[in-house]
Amino acid sequence: MNARAAETSMTEGYNFAYLDEQTKRMIRRALLKAVAVPGHQVPFASREMPLPYGWGTGGLQVTSAIIGRADTLKVIDQGSDETTNAVNIRRFFARTTGVATTTHTADATIVQTRHRIPEHPLTERQIIVYQVPMPEPLFRLEPRVTECRKLHALADYGLINVKYYEDIVQHGSIATTYDYPVLVNDRYLTSPSPIPKFDNPKMHMNPALQLFGAGRERRIYAIPPYTKVKSLDFEDHPFTVQHWDHECALCASTESFLDEMIVDDAGTRMFVCSDSDYCHGRRGDGEEA
């Protein structure tokens, strides 16, 4: 068998969705606890996956624990279904489960994502699974996990407020643009994963269940449907999201997150939607991205 055939054939000798049922049960228990305590990081016995740590092993394990034969899966990275990492993860589940995959946000029952929330609003029948590199929102201020756990237990978030205050004094605004921490259900400070802060408002009162998996750091957390999610800010410096002076060069959207591309040696820029499915939908063409 050549390299290609070996990499694309359906896997034999592995359980449905790769993980064994005992492991899935362990992950589901962690998920239940996570849903019961929104925004709280639940330790779980993360497994080695056939994908490197830091490339989505947490999201992979969460999806593997919740996916069933009737599900339809969408996988995005940077908003796009076609980046190599998204292709790779989608192929992994196609091989190990045989479930239907899609690029259309509205058709998916599970959306696994890295760094974006789709522009198309999610519904109650959908679950979004985030890949999380660093689940601890305080890690840049306090690298010790033991200390951070105490700070969360005491809801002592003074450190980060001081940091943001200093940002405002120094730069005139808070200098965090992605992985912008949120307070979930008025209690736990939580990392939204490295989505741009543009996407933070979508988390608030979202009808979909939001699950977060951090494989290398061995943590799972969740935001149940219709939960209050507040991005940190100050009364006199309210939270704002990014905006562009351009519209999408392909679909003319003025409301989506735009990626900037350099299209020639002279450094000419072009701005296009980061969410490829949204962009195609607006252009009304059926062509797959």
């Binding site: 016995a45 080695e48 996956m49 940077q78 190599t84 292709v87 992605y178 490295p194 997150f257 990626d259």
Partner: protein, 371 residues
């Protein structure tokens, strides 16, 4: 124009083909077999088994072949396979005192009961390149003549110091919990020594070497002696419930290192020697010794020593020791970060625009003056 983010699927397919071709190299040369790797690259196989946490020479050799000799990649391949294996049970603790020895040395005593036993070691080679190997010459030596008779089990050197009570003994304290299983439970702090040792046994050899080296150069307060290093085969026994007794299921090769370290004593304990411990699959004294140094360094907390350095901090050492984790996370920077980078660009432009811009003409004049 939109090509940049299209065609991922096809690119990946071509990448596999290229990888397979590159791995094979020049097809005019015979292909390397897994059994050749297993027999002739046995130290690489040992490292992959230790850090991959599976004692299986054939699979480790296969992983090395598949990874084209990249040992960290091979370790990752083996770990990803290991994670799918069912867990039948836990063996009895191995008795390294009953090891069938190939090598055993102590740097603390000139002579020891059972004797020093040099065995095969690179230590006293002169590191001259052997060009006979280059010429494909078969330079295999005759098996050394000498006593091959089964030896009596040799007691550990450190147990000799025990008679005077000069060294703390490695006995489980009363009520100590069963050792955890790091591959089944996440690391949680504070962490038991048994769990720390598991982490160190799986840890990257290079990382342990550097941290252990740092403890010798003053980044910790340890003063080690190599009490004993032994390498050989031990039997693995599994309790079979239906039978009611333990059954020997095979032999594995191990390297064990017991370091002796000074301990100044504390309010309750008289000054004494303490131990650092290292144990690895196969033959790897470098890793076993480095592991023992780091183990001792991490015991600072339980011995009430001042913690003044990262090498004594379990969170720092244990969270960063695993090369599968570290390699994955470092290399994930290859993945696209367009969205985050875009967000930073936007912020930077806004911050710069907020500063009062210098008039363009003024800049030009200054440049002319400078020229």
């Amino acid at each position: 124009m939109y090509v940049a983010v299209k065609g991922g699927e096809r690119a990946i397919e071509h990448s596999w083909d290229l990888l397979a071709t590159r791995r094979r190299g020049d097809t005019a040369l015979p292909e390397l077999s897994v059994s050749q790797i297993r027999e002739q690259l046995r130290l690489a196989v040992a490292r992959v088994m230790t850090e991959g946490s599976v004692y299986d020479e054939e699979l480790a050799a296969l992983a090395i072949k598949q990874a084209a000799g990249d040992l960290v990649e091979a370790i990752f391949l083996l770990r990803a396979y290991r994670t799918t294996l069912p867990r039948f049970g836990y063996t009895r603790p191995v008795d390294t005192g009953a090891m069938r020895m190939e090598r055993r040395i102590s740097a603390a005593f000139k002579d020891i009961p059972g004797g020093q036993m040099l065995g095969g070691t690179y230590d006293y080679t002169q590191r001259l390149l052997d060009f006979a190997l280059l010429a494909d010459g078969d330079v295999s030596a005759d098996a050394p003549a000498g006593p091959v008779a089964p030896m009596e089990p040799m007691p550990h050197v450190l147990s000799l110091l025990d008679k005077e009570g000069l060294i703390e003994q490695e006995t489980p304290r009363p009520g100590a919990p069963e050792p955890g299983d790091l591959s089944r439970e996440p690391l949680a702090f504070p962490v038991e020594r048994s769990t720390r040792l598991q982490n160190l046994a799986r840890a990257d050899e290079g990382f342990l070497l550097a941290i252990g080296y740092a403890t010798q150069r003053g980044y910790a307060h340890t003063h080690p002696f190599a009490g004993e290093i032994r390498h050989g085969e031990v039997a693995i026994e599994l309790d079979v419930e239906e039978l009611g007794f333990a059954v020997e299921i095979g032999d594995i090769e191990l390297t064990e290192c017991q370091m002796i370290n000074q301990f100044a004593g504390s309010g309750e304990i008289a000054p004494t020697f303490t131990q650092g411990y290292g144990l690895v699959f196969g033959h790897s004294e470098r890793k076993a010794m480095a592991m023992a140094l780091v183990d001792r360094s991490l015991r600072a907390g339980e011995l009430g020593e001042t913690i003044a350095s990262s090498t004594q901090d379990p969170e720092f050492v244990l969270y960063h020791s695993d090369n599968v984790e570290a390699s994955g996370f470092v290399q994930h920077l290859k993945l696209p970060h367009y969205v985050d980078f875009q967000s930073e660009l936007e912020l930077l432009r806004r911050l710069r625009a907020a500063k009062v811009p210098v008039p363009k003409e003024q800049v030009e004049t200054e440049e002319e003056n400078a020229a």
